[in-house]
C-alpha cells in the first residue's frame, strides 16, 4: 500500500491511498484502502492515510478516529496518532501518516517498520523504514 497526505499553504488537507491488497487474497477482497474513514480520511482538521492489516484498520475506522479524537478529545496531531495506534487496533498491526491544518506532520505504527517520508515548509525532511 502507498499513501500521501498533504496540507497546503492555505491550510487545506488532503489524503490519498492506493494498493494491490494482500498477496494470495481471495478475488473480490476489498481492504481498508478504498474505504473512506478506514484507510483514508481528510477533513478541515487533518488528512490521514493508513497501511497494514486491512481488516484491523476497517474494524478500528483508523483514519477517521485520528480526526475524531482531535475534534472530540482535543488532542494534537501526534497525540491523536499515538492514541489511535495504541488503543484502536486491538491485536491488529498497522501504521499511518497524518498532517494537520496547522502544518504539522505525524506518523505512527505498531509494526516493525513502515516505509515513510515527511517534510514541512520550515525545512524539516526525514525518510525512514524502521
Amino acid at each position: 500500500t502507498v499513501g500521501c497526505v498533504v496540507v497546503d499553504s492555505q491550510g487545506r488537507c488532503a489524503a490519498a491511498t492506493s494498493t494491490g491488497g494482500l498477496m494470495n487474497k481471495m478475488s473480490g477482497r476489498i481492504g481498508d484502502s478504498p474505504l473512506i474513514g478506514s484507510g483514508t480520511y481528510a477533513c478541515n482538521l487533518c488528512g490521514v492515510s493508513c497501511t497494514g492489516e486491512g481488516e484491523a484498520i476497517i474494524r478500528g475506522t483508523l483514519a477517521r478516529d485520528v480526526a475524531a479524537v482531535m475534534e472530540y478529545k482535543g488532542l494534537g496531531l501526534q497525540a491523536a496518532v499515538d492514541y489511535v495506534i495504541k488503543e484502536r487496533l486491538d491485536e491488529g498491526q498497522a501504521g499511518l501518516i497524518a498532517v494537520s491544518k496547522d502544518g504539522e506532520v505525524a506518523c505512527g505504527f505498531n509494526t516493525n517498520g513502515m516505509f515513510r517520508g515527511c517534510a514541512t515548509q520550515d525545512g524539516f525532511m526525514e525518510v525512514g523504514i524502521w
Partner: protein, 198 residues
C-alpha cells in the same frame, strides 16, 4: 504553526531481513516522491492535486504494493483499489477491483470530481474508466516476477501474506510464512477462525 507539510508511505510490516540495497532503493523512491510533492506545493498546487500527483508516482514505480508491483490475488492477477479525499468539503472518491487502470488513484479522483457517487467497483469502475478515457493497460503490466515468486511461496504455505516483501532467498527467512506452515489457514497472520463467519 502553519505552512505546508507532506508525508508519504510505502506500506507497513516489513521483512526484518530486507536486503540493504532494497532499503536504499525504497528510501530513494520515498525521497523522490517527497521532492515531487514539495515542488508542487511550492508551485501553489492545492493539496488534492499534490496527493494525486505523488501517489501516481508511487503507483508507477514497481517497488511498493500499488499499481505496477501490486500483490497478486489467488488467481495470479492484480486487483487494485484506491481512495482520495479532499478535506475542506470532505469530498471523496474510491475505486476497487481494478484490473486495467494504470493509475487507480486518478480514477478515484475522477469518481470524486466527475461522477455523482463516492465509490465505484469492478466492472462498473472499469466502464467508468473507459468512459473517462484514462490510460488502460493489460493486467500483465502490473505483475512483476518478484510477486509471482511471492505468490508461489504463499500458496505453498497455504497463507495470505501480510508482509509480502519477503526475499526470495529462503522460506525460512519469512516468519509469517514459516508460522503458517505449522498453523491452519491464516489471514493477516491470524487464524482464519477469528474472523466473522462470512
Amino acid at each position: 504553526m502553519g505552512g505546508w507539510a507532506i508525508a508519504v508511505h510505502g506500506g507497513a510490516g516489513i521483512d526484518p531481513n530486507l536486503p540493504t540495497e532494497k532499503q536504499e532503493e525504497a528510501k530513494l523512491l520515498l525521497t523522490r516522491c517527497l521532492n515531487l510533492g514539495i515542488s508542487a506545493l511550492r508551485s501553489n498546487l492545492p493539496a488534492i492535486d499534490v496527493v494525486e500527483l505523488v501517489v501516481r508516482e508511487l503507483e508507477t514505480d514497481p517497488l511498493f504494493n500499488s499499481g505496477r508491483g501490486s500483490a497478486l490475488s489467488e488467481n495470479g492477477t492484480v486487483e487494485m483499489e484506491a481512495s482520495i479525499m479532499d478535506g475542506p468539503k470532505r469530498r471523496c472518491g474510491a475505486v476497487s477491483g481494478l484490473t486495467t487502470v494504470k493509475n487507480p488513484i486518478s480514477l478515484a479522483r475522477l469518481v470524486m470530481d466527475k461522477s455523482p457517487h463516492s465509490y465505484l467497483a469492478f466492472s462498473g469502475a472499469e466502464a467508468f474508466a473507459r468512459q473517462q478515457g484514462v490510460e488502460l493497460v493489460e493486467n500483465e503490466y502490473f505483475i512483476t516476477e518478484e510477486n509471482k515468486g511471492m505468490l508461489k511461496l504463499a500458496k505453498e504455505a497455504n497463507s495470505i501474506l501480510f508482509d509480502y516483501r519477503v526475499p526470495i532467498a529462503g522460506l525460512e527467512s519469512c516468519t509469517a510464512v514459516a508460522a503458517a506452515v505449522d498453523s491452519p489457514l491464516q489471514m493477516n497472520g491470524l487464524p482464519i477462525s477469528i474472523y466473522a463467519p462470512e
